[in-house]
Every structure is written in C-alpha cells, then in structure tokens.
Symmetry: C2
Subunit: 451 residues, 2 copies
Amino acid sequence: VMVDRRERIERLLQAEELRREDLEELQPYDVAVVLPDLEPERQIRLLILLPPDVAAGALEHLDADDQYAFLVERLPVNTTHAVLAAMSTAALVDLLKALHPRQQQAVLRLVPPADVEDVRALMAYPEGSAASRMTTEYLAVRAQWSADQVIRHFRHVGRDVEIAHYVYVVDRAGKLIGVTSLRDVLLAEPEMPVADFMHASVVSVQATADQEEAARILRDYDFGALPVVDAEERLVGVLGVDDVLDVAEEEATEDIQKGASVVPLDTTYSRASVWSLYYRRVGWLAILVLLNLFSSAVIAAYSSTLAAVLSLAFFIPLLIGSGGNAGSQSATLMIRALATQDVRPSQWATAFAKEVAVGALLGLTLGALSALLGVFRGGWGEAGWTLGLVVGITMVAIVVVANLIGMTLPFLLSRFKLDPAVASSPLITTIADATGLLIYFSIAAWLFGIG
Amino acid sequence: VMVDRRERIERLLQAEELRREDLEELQPYDVAVVLPDLEPERQIRLLILLPPDVAAGALEHLDADDQYAFLVERLPVNTTHAVLAAMSTAALVDLLKALHPRQQQAVLRLVPPADVEDVRALMAYPEGSAASRMTTEYLAVRAQWSADQVIRHFRHVGRDVEIAHYVYVVDRAGKLIGVTSLRDVLLAEPEMPVADFMHASVVSVQATADQEEAARILRDYDFGALPVVDAEERLVGVLGVDDVLDVAEEEATEDIQKGASVVPLDTTYSRASVWSLYYRRVGWLAILVLLNLFSSAVIAAYSSTLAAVLSLAFFIPLLIGSGGNAGSQSATLMIRALATQDVRPSQWATAFAKEVAVGALLGLTLGALSALLGVFRGGWGEAGWTLGLVVGITMVAIVVVANLIGMTLPFLLSRFKLDPAVASSPLITTIADATGLLIYFSIAAWLFGIG
C-alpha cells in the first residue's frame, strides 16, 4: 500500500504540469520524502503551489539547513510568510535551535510578530524538558462558559489550534482547573456550564520535567495529550501523544547505544561526523583497556601455572567469553526491566534469587558442554580428564558469578543514583574477564596441584 | 506532582467511608496502581462504586488472571455486566487471548451479545498484526451527509466511540473513501456535504500488516489515529496512536534483548519464569561456546610461539577484549540505524568508509595506549620494546578489523533477509576474539621471529 502511494505521488509531482487541485490531497510527510529528488525549480514551484500548512508540515521533516535554505534563500517572501505562519510553534522552535544565532534572526524576522513571543518563551525551556516539545496552540476556556459558548468559541479559533480534541479549563489567573473533551462539549446540554461536566482532577506535568516522564504518563494513562503547567500550576502548553512517539524512539536509541558503551549520539548515525563518532566511542574503550590490566595482572600472577600446563591457555577465550556473554545477558535484561519500571530498585532480592537459579542452570549446561571439549582437547588420559574437570567446574563458577555481577551492577548503579545503563555489555565483559581468569587459575592451580 | 497525586488517592481509598462523588474524578490507571494494596473487601466495594468505564479502564491494567478473578469470581454479576459493557473491545480481546478456552467461555457469557461478534472478529487476526490492536468503536459516516447531520449522529453515538476526533467516510460497501475530523465538521457550514470537505486520499494500513509498520506510519505522518482496512479496502477498525506507544516500547525491548543474544521474552522480566529465562538464553550461549573453539584452535596452533614468549598471554584479554568492544559498538550503532531506517541497506558503502576512518582513529589511540602498557610490562630492554611494538601494532589491526566486522555483519544479515539484530554484542565479541588472536599471534611470530 505504501509503495503504491509513494509511486503515485512521484508520478504526480513529475507530471508535466503541477495542478493545485491535485496537490491539496498530499500528505506533508509524502512531500518531504519526494522533495529532495525533484529538480530545484520544481521544488520551489511545488512549495509555492501547496497549501501553506502542507508545505510547512513537509519542511518540518527536513534538516534545519535545508529548511533555512528554502525559507530564507530560495522561496519567494510571500510564500515564506505564509509557510512560517502555518508552521507549528514547536517545529519553529526545533528549527531555530538548530540554527546559528545570525540565521535565527533572519528566520525570526519572517515569522508573524504574534508568534515570535511564543517562540521565544518556548526556546527558554531546557532541551529535553516536557515544555520543549509542547505546543502553545490549544483550546482554553473558562469554567462558567456554557457548552454552546465553547462551541461558538471553537468555531472562531478552532482552525488554529493544534490539540483540538481536548478543551482545557483555566481560572482568571491562568491556573489549570479542569479538562474536558470536544466530545463531551458536544454531548452536553447547550446551556450547561463547563464546570458541571469537566474533570476537575487533571493529570498534568511540570514544564521542567523530563520529556521521558511526560511520555510515561501519556502511556500509563492512555491519554491523547497532556497539559504542561508551570510552578504555579498555570497552563503553559500541551504535549500531544504524537510528539512523544519520537521521544520513545530516541530514548530507546540512547539506551541501546549506552548498552554498547557508546556515549549517545546527539544526532542520527548517518548525520554524525567521523570525529563525533570517534569522540563518543573512544572514552569507554580507553577506560576498558585500563580495566583490562586486571586481567593481565591475573595471568602474570599465575604465569608459573600457565607455563606448567600450557594447554590452559587454549580455554581462556572460551571461559572468559562465556562469562562475559552470560553477564551481558543478565545486565541487559535488568537494565531494560529497570528502565521500563517492570522491576523496581527495591526488588533486587527477588531478581537476585531468580538469577541464582537461571545462572546455575546455564552454568551446568555450559559446564557439561565445555568439560567434554576439555577432555577432547586434553586427550583421554588422566591429564585430559583433569583438564576437562578444571574447564567444566570453572565454566559453572564463571557463568554463575558473571551472571550475578551482570544482574547486580545495574541495581547498585541505580542505588547510587547513577544510570544503570552504564553497566554496558563491554563493561560487564571486561569485569567478567578478570573475575573469570581469577576463578580459572585458582581452580587449575588447585586441581593440578601447582602454584 | 505524581507522588502527591498517588498519596491523595491512597488516602481517599483508605478513608473510612468510600463516597461515590469522590470516586468519579479518579483515573483508571491510578486505581489500577492502588487496587492491589487494598484489602479484598475494599477492592470489591471500590469497583462496585466506581463508574463502570473507570472500573473497566482500571482492570485493563491488571494481569489477565486478576481480571478474570474479579470479573467472574469476585464481583457481583450486575457490576461485571456493566464493566464488561464499558470495556473497550481491544482490551477484552487482550484479556480473552490470555485466558484458557474454558475461562474465555465464562467471560464471553457475561459480555453484551452485540459486542461478542466484534470480539470474535478481532480475535481472528494474528498476534502482532495492526488489526490485533485496533478498536472497532469509531465514527463512520457517508459522504453525502451534511456537516450538521454528522453532528446530530455524533450526539447520538458519540458516547460509545473510542476514537472521537476523526470521522471516517465509507461508501455503501463499507469501503473507506475519505477522512475528516470532528474539528473540520464543526468548522464547516452546517449544510455542506462531507464529500466537499473530507480528505479523499486516506493513508491507511492493511489489517494483516505488522503493528510495527502501523506504528511507523503514525509516527512519520504525525497522525492521531490510523484506519485499518481489509484486502477490499473496507474499513474494519482504527488504531489510535496511544495504542501504539506500547508497541514502540515493546519493540525497543525486543531489540535490546536481541542485542545481548537473548531470544526476546514473550512477557516482562518480572513475570518470566526461571525456566523460560534459561530457555531463551542457553541457545545462543551454547552456540557461542562452539564458536569459541576457533579461538582455542588459534592458540593451540601457535602454542610454540606462546611457549617461547609466555608474556604474550598477558595481553590476550586486553587485545581481544578491545576488538570485541569496538566491534560491539559499531554493530550496535549499525543495527539501530538500520532499524530506525536512518541508514538503508543500500548505503553500506558510505557506512563502510565512515567506519574505516573511525576504526583507524580508535585503533591508533588504543594502539598507542597499549604499546605503552606492553613496554611497561616487558621491561625497558629490547624484549620490552618488541613486546610493546607487537601489542601496539596488534591493537591497531584488531580494532580496525573488529570494527569493520561489527559494521558489516548487520548489513550482510539484512542483505540475506535475516534480522540484523542477530549481530549481537556477544556474537561480535566471539568472532572478534578468534580474529584478534589470529592477528596477534601472526604479528608476534613475525616480529619475534618464531613459529
């Protein structure tokens, strides 16, 4: 269905003559996808002919640099005026934040003066706050208005609001005192005052709260939009659930990158420069090199054991690798469970008991498997059996211990108010390496009677 | 704000006497959170007194077993009737799917007969399809109706619809031919037929499409809801963006679990049994043990080199660990970029060039660092300098190669229509181990003139 749609749009836009009536049905996103592939003159002609709200919606999907080029350098000024007037304040703020101050000025001069104030107010909120994504184009009414009055008001201003299905009720000071929906207004008796059918107990979010918190409230409560209030409980904007879908994906991307010891990129991979990719990866890699010195120290301490039974070296990657893998698994499961609030930090004891059991089962399975491999490698004589025993016992111990390290570290981090995601796979692997070697050589020295 | 809210609700529900007027303002989610902590009799009393839609909304947040216990075993039958009538079909379907067939029958006998058919139709759609999450309680009108007629219709049925802000237009056969919003209906001239102001080009999703595709469309197009159609383009339901927020989080959780070589859990960590956790982790761990045999084989092949310069063993964890870490980073970045469609499979050459550069920078940094460590460990004599040289050169080579392996594998997998996420951190680490050892011992044998 989607491919057909895209093809139809491409054919439409590549037709000899662009016709306004064909363009009216276009979706902004489709325009944004096709636009870059059109010839420069055709791009301009298309944006001029499109309804301004569609053109604005399409531009919102482009890079800030491309938006700037169209708005300030390439489009005729009357088109730019119309498009900027149709653009949502949130999109305008996103654009301005990505521009150089001089470019910001150039854009702001083209924005309708009435919107400039809203835009400036929004830009003052910190990046990542609930307020930084909200819209200021919502519907606010007074509690004593009748349902019919609200509908008349809506017919007057409804064209410009972005959140149209919720109606927020404020008092004289702008304090949020209730919420209702366009549905309830339509279903109410025309003469009934809003106060009689609104919900007076409103779930809202503070403007400075993290946008992740806002996303969580929207998800838990199944709301379509969430009002944003300042410290005095005054309504300052509304956050739509569609604005938060992006947040969920961005947060997931951040968590995934942290899980591989990458400092989260501030942009997408495709836009990140070589230098910024280097910079966000090298720090953890260097720290892990230093942590790896513990592993070197363990081997050095047991070098006489190793010299006596050189075949012990064969199993180093197998044993410490398996510990690292099991630890990565449990750390990853735990970090995600904490992030989605499936498991609370206070429930560590339950999780610990579970992982003791899971670790033991995994350890016994892998231990049996690797004992066989040890016997196979060491030969069927007594040395072979001893090697098999050492490798098998070590595997059980390493998997159980690494599994518990992986499970415990995220809890410890969250206990100390640190980000549990720091317990990334590479960090757990590195810790499991040193621990695993210590276990391996202790058991080997003991069972072979060396050291 | 949230904590205050929760406390207020707890105080309200623990008050001596529950009063209906206090309960009317409660949010279903808040009730669901507090409910399990109440005494059994109080739970029942609360659910009886609550408005049925709030009680239904609260129950939706509970486990299927708990919902069943309340609905069939604990609540009086008139409360159950009212709650089931108020419950959304989607929630009812979720509940029924999680129950034993005999329990399903017990619940279905209590559902209003008019809803049973809808529920059965929804249950026929495959798990994970767009249709499996949709609601059938939407607003459908005919193109020739006037705006005023739509509003009168809305006043009649609006109480029962779940998606209230979009109005879908269907023809006699039920085919979806247009869409408009309650806003546009209110803003239109009362006499104007819907055909004159609806959007005739509707973005929709096939009922059998993956719910992830539906989530992507909702996100890309910034829609509040997406109509779901069958193969004949007939409207069968509507998917709200709030239903899809859960999808985004579940998909992210799956990707994160795959990234640690865990077969995605079919439930949350806290609900997963020890056995199911074992089962979803042991497969990959065992495969990786077998893959690790390559590493053992490499060390065995170079055992004479190792015997001659035993201190080479000290650096095994450091070198292969760093390769694995760098490879995990690039694999993770690439898998996520492919999953979010930031990078297309066809763009592998650009990504490859980028990773050659990033890998070289990382390799040189870590190489310099580890050469120093090598000299330090080997002493300041000639042997020490040689060891430092071997370790430094090896580190550069390993990091560059492992980085490229990590980056390439996800592309190769997607090329062969396999899930790129299979290139998990543990798999990349294991491959990097064997490759790294081969590089290490080749360079060592060459520079020390052994083997």
